[in-house]
Symmetry: C2
Subunit: 291 residues, 2 copies
């Protein structure tokens, strides 16, 4: 059977030159010092009733009010009995509370500000170094892919594969955070129009492989298709013995610079022509389960 | 229930201005003259044993030898009994003949040339009009998204969501076409390194929602997970009564120019800040079932 990316060490014979490094080699060789732990208050753990788990990293530095809402909703068990009710192909998987009568727990801001961008000033950025189709600049801040304009003094979390945003009605509504979606395709045209609050860092395939809804916009046709959520908790609310931990690569590190360079210039055996460029969403900042 | 993109006509009251057009409005209003029929010899129909169907449009103008191989393989019933055996999240769904003893039908070129690019000269291009992260230019030719260099005199079909390519081993192998994959995420870093032979134009969700494989590179762990293919036929080989037909929007038309402009500048009710730019793979040339 052929494979698209067949890795083979068997070709290394005699005085052959060393194999060119892959981006994965860089990640695997990165020293312990470049890995930063995700705070347990930024880890949102969604367990589905089918036994699968999806883990999100929240981004309070980009959407503080929405993230505070999400923490309050999780602590108040708001999503108990909630479902995934929309899967639109090449677009989003969306979930939340279907029971519109269910009130919000204490501390939830009903009408949050439009946290679609934040000031650029003060951010330590690793520039992508290649053109972006949607913004004057693209790059990375503390493990997050961002688009930005120093001149306009704005920056936004980019809608890449796995980004988590806040469902809303028509503008100027911003949504509370009670309904969330994960992008299952890059959706950069939504940048600066929706509050992005984080990204899926584990279990993404448990969302992306769900059956697509057949109604308009991918809503499931009837409730029998809804995917029930067992519970959504902050890692900080879980008992220590069961609390998962994750770490992400410092995007200001030399390891990330090498990783980025290789994402844009693949030289390993499979490749013939390195691109000499790369799209923001094709450079997912590395993250891994800890321990 | 909130929806991410809730469309509502109820807001149109009194002397309200007309609603801004969406890209879909442009597609729906496009005159009959801008729609071009896909030749039945370019339509590859894959029926899975589970009853679902996936339809591909082939691109002979970009990979003539590989496409001729694929036609010969289909006419020779090569994929009868084949399976989908690899689903790598955010990457590819791959299928083909697992029985390596099965010989190729007559007419199949065992070692095709590396049709990764073609000369740019002679192509009628609609430029994207925005920066591309992977190539000097991006645009559209006869319904296909391409990257190109007039100076270098090359053009390639871009690896966008739904693009179909030819699985191969390490270079300089190019694959025969007996094993194919569909991209379930934009994979532009593979541009110019693989023969892209077409795109999925119907039934993409039947591939993208398949369970992800748990082995390295997304291969299914055991054969019980393989998704059996019933048959793969060219529409030109099907009886007229059962032959599907599709048409695509002429990318040189005024309708497509409007569609492209709106993909880069969303002004409808949901949007607050139009991007003023768009990525090549976020402008899927419209295609639809005919009749």
């Amino acid at each position: 059977m052929r494979s698209l990316l067949l890795l083979s060490a068997a070709l290394l014979v005699g005085a052959a030159p060393p194999k060119p490094l892959t981006p994965t080699d860089i990640v695997n060789a990165a020293p312990k010092s470049v890995w930063k732990q995700v705070p347990s208050d930024d880890l949102l753990v969604m367990d589905l009733q089918n036994g699968s788990r999806v883990v999100m990293q929240l981004a309070p530095q980009f959407a503080p009010v929405h993230v505070a809402n999400i923490r309050a909703l999780a602590r108040g068990n708001y999503w108990d009995g909630a479902t995934i009710y929309r899967v639109q192909d090449a677009y989003v998987v969306q979930w939340g509370q279907n029971d519109s009568e269910k009130g919000f727990p204490a501390g939830v801001v009903a009408k949050p500000p439009a946290e679609y961008t934040r000031p650029f000033k003060g951010l330590a950025v690793k520039p992508l170094g290649h053109d972006d189709s949607y913004a004057p600049h693209a790059g990375f801040v503390d493990g997050w892919p961002i688009a930005y304009s120093p001149k306009g003094n704005w920056a936004n979390l980019a809608h890449c594969y796995g980004s988590v945003g806040v469902g809303r009605d028509l503008s100027p509504d911003t949504g509370t955070g009670g309904e969330l979606y994960a992008a299952i395709n890059p959706l950069r045209h939504l940048d600066r129009n929706i509050a992005v609050v984080g990204r899926i860092i584990d279990g993404m395939a448990n969302l992306s492989s769900l059956p697509r809804g057949t109604e308009a916009l991918g809503f499931y046709k009837d409730k029998s298709m809804y995917v029930p959520i067992a519970k959504v908790r902050l890692a900080s609310s879980m008992r220590e013995a069961e609390r998962p931990a994750y770490e992400y690569m410092d995007t200001q590190s030399a390891s990330f610079a090498k990783y980025l360079k290789l994402r844009a210039n693949r030289h390993d055996d499979f490749y013939i022509r390195p691109a000499g460029g790369v799209d923001l969403c094709n450079v997912s900042p590395p993250v891994r389960r800890k321990g």
